[in-house]
């Protein structure tokens, strides 16, 4: 397919570092959009602040780069104002689960028809490598010079517990699968989430001696385990593995839809 038709070409080359996974994730999104066949005019991409959140600037949709952590509330308002619009949120692990954690779980609870993509690079990339709720315990960061001391969130588990309809996880290495999972997420009516494991060589890889971007991406190949296979493995075997695939896919009442029904009801009275 022709990615370029979806891009704002004059903004390229993009700001992401050499070997950053965010560009790979963007390609997967574009394949998904292309396969579904959505009109560019009917797509809004909303983000917060972070490297990942720079994504909307590069795509030729209706794009909204909001404040740190708040993409989901903006997207919620937009979706309610224009239910026919396909609203995609792109967010970083810090943006979505640190400062924006509450909006994430509430959107999941409401099961509002948004698709949220969280680019999880285990770090605050944009601001130079501070610890994030997704930094594995013991790993280093500029604000974790003794190693991260906190547990991290299982983003999938958390959003499922909060009420999401569709949740998946994938690495950028498995780009093909990633595109398909995003396609499923976009097609889902209800709150859908894809956690995209995206290497950040600059702010996370270096300080943790994980190598350069290409090395980190190749490493994902080793670490990834399909959800189906993971079910047959023990917790020990799964340690440090990345489980990829669809984690949940269920039918629940969608918020905007429910609201539209209430409106017709209220207007009938």
């Amino acid at each position: 397919m022709d990615y370029l038709q979806y891009l704002r070409l004059d903004k390229f080359p993009h700001i992401w570092c050499a070997g950053c996974g965010d560009g790979i994730a963007l390609k997967a999104i574009l394949r998904a959009v292309h396969n579904i066949g959505w009109e560019k005019d009917n797509i809004a991409m909303v983000s917060g602040i972070g490297c990942s959140s720079r994504t909307p600037g590069y795509v030729d949709f209706n794009t909204l780069h909001t404040t740190h952590g708040r993409a989901i509330p903006f997207a919620t308002g937009l979706k309610m104002a224009r239910p026919e619009m396909n609203v995609i949120v792109v967010s970083g692990d810090g943006d979505a689960t640190a400062i924006g954690g509450n909006h994430l779980i509430h959107a999941a609870r409401r099961n509002i028809d948004l698709t949220v993509l969280i680019y999880n690079n285990h770090i605050y990339g944009m601001t130079g490598g501070q610890v994030s709720p997704e930094t594995p315990m013991g790993d280093f960061a500029t604000t974790a010079p003794y190693g991260a001391m906190e547990n991290n969130f299982d983003i999938s588990g958390l959003t499922i517990a909060a009420g999401a309809s569709f949740v998946a996880r994938c690495t950028v290495y498995h780009a093909n699968l990633l595109g398909k999972l995003i396609e499923k997420a976009l097609s889902k009516k209800g709150f859908s989430l894809v956690e995209v494991m995206s290497p950040c060589p600059t702010a996370y890889g270096k300080i943790n001696k994980k190598g350069t971007g290409n090395e980190m991406i190749l490493n994902q190949k080793q670490l990834a385990v399909r959800v189906e296979r993971a079910k047959t493995m023990s917790p020990e075997e799964l340690k440090n593995k990345i489980i990829i695939g669809t984690i949940i896919d269920r039918e629940l009442p969608e918020y905007v839809n429910t609201y539209e029904k209430i409106i017709s009801q209220a207007q009938r009275r």
């Binding site: 005019d41 809004a44 780069h65 509330p73 104002a81 609201y259 209220a266 009275r269």
Partner: protein
């Protein structure tokens, strides 16, 4: 059309004004003494095809109204002090992205949780300066229930016309008082909607303005795909770090309202022609002051009053003139002199500024103003 006469609460007047202004989206988070606005709209909006959402907090409510407005739906949020503090970051976002929204703050006693059920006017400076960075903002303040209705409509009109967040700053007394109002017929209202681009989508530059200084605004989903960011951006809407572009952008942003100050800045003169003693006040304190002024006039004291309706931008010129006319300007307000300070700035020493401040949760009593008037003779 049947006459629209009701006993109506100030907060309900906000809701009704918003509906009549064309508002079809409300996002908020309950807080005393503003909650009735959301409560009313949660019922009323669906009846007319609009939507209400109670968000998880005030930050997200502010985000949601900006998102909805970008989608082309006039949007309102309402809160009080603590929530207003939380909304500040996103108010700045609306300001720099020039997305029309109306924010109501029904003021209660502060700071912090303060006096949740008692009246105050102590968020006046915050309404101007609460968010970081220089930014344009309009702040209106009503003194009656009827004016609350009218000003809510005005707030939407200004917001749409100038692409600026407009704050309706009420005090608890105005928010909660029930008063008899006769509303105008819908067809008598002036309703302003955002100017849409007339050019093609290809030609559209979202932040380029003609001599009006206000760029036409395309709604998301209407074929004009563009980028909106809270970073300083150039005329294309994309971030820039170039000093000359930054300058063009921030200068237009911060001066666009100057061009319209005549239509934005509103105040009401009462008995000012022959006044030797002046009162400058606003909101519920203006009601106390009016009462005091009537009594003073009955006693032959030549008092005149300017009731400020547009707090920000501040009516500096009018107050300057007034300062040169009168010996004293009494400034009754339910705070420690926030507007008095601004009046002092405006009069440049020409008249003596006499603050009447009250922050104990009681409204200013007409007698207190009367006393000050007498002290000024």
């Amino acid at each position: 059309m049947k006459p629209r006469t009701y006993m109506m609460q100030g907060n309900v007047a906000v809701a009704e004004g918003a509906i009549d202004a064309g508002c079809r989206f409300f996002a908020g988070y309950p807080i005393t003494p503003s909650s009735e606005i959301g409560e009313t709209l949660s019922k009323r909006l669906p009846e007319i095809g609009g939507k209400f959402i109670q968000m998880e907090d005030e930050i997200s409510a502010m985000g949601a109204v900006i998102g909805a407005s970008l989608g082309g739906v006039k949007s309102l949020t309402a809160t009080s002090g603590p929530g207003f503090s939380l909304k500040q970051e996103n108010i700045g976002y609306a300001s720099i992205t020039e997305v029309p929204v109306v924010i109501v703050n029904v003021m209660r006693g502060g700071p912090s949780t303060g006096l949740p059920t008692l009246p105050s006017q102590s968020d006046v400076m915050q309404a101007r300066w609460g968010t970081h960075g220089d930014h344009p903002i309009i702040v209106l303040t009503p003194a009656t229930v009827r004016e609350t209705y009218d000003m809510t409509i005005q707030a939407f009109n200004m917001s749409e016309k100038y692409r600026v967040p407009v704050i309706l700053l009420m005090d608890e007394i105005i928010g909660h008082v029930y008063e008899k109002v006769t509303l105008p017929n819908i067809d008598e209202l002036t309703i302003i909607n955002r100017k849409k681009p007339t050019c093609s989508a290809q030609e559209y530059l979202p932040y380029i303005a003609d001599e009006t200084l206000i760029p036409p605004m395309a709604n998301f989903g209407e074929g004009y795909r563009y980028h909106v960011t809270g970073l300083v951006h150039d005329e294309t809407g994309f971030p820039t770090n170039k000093t000359d572009q930054i300058e063009v952008m921030l200068n237009r942003l911060n001066s666009k309202l100057d061009k319209y100050s005549d239509e934005i800045i509103q105040y009401e003169d009462t008995f000012t022609e022959d006044a030797k003693i002046g009162i400058v006040t606003y909101g519920s304190s203006a009601r106390s002051s009016k009462n005091a002024m009537r009594k003073a006039r009955e006693q032959g004291i030549p008092v005149g009053m300017i009731r400020i309706q547009t707090l920000w931008p501040f009516p500096t010129e009018r107050i300057y003139e007034f300062g040169r006319q009168v010996s004293h300007i009494i400034v009754p307000e339910l705070n420690l002199g926030q507007i008095a300070h601004e009046v002092e700035h405006a009069v440049k020493g020409a008249a003596e500024v006499v603050p009447v401040n009250k922050i104990n949760g009681d409204p200013i009593h007409p007698e207190e103003v009367l006393l000050k008037i007498k002290e000024c003779i």
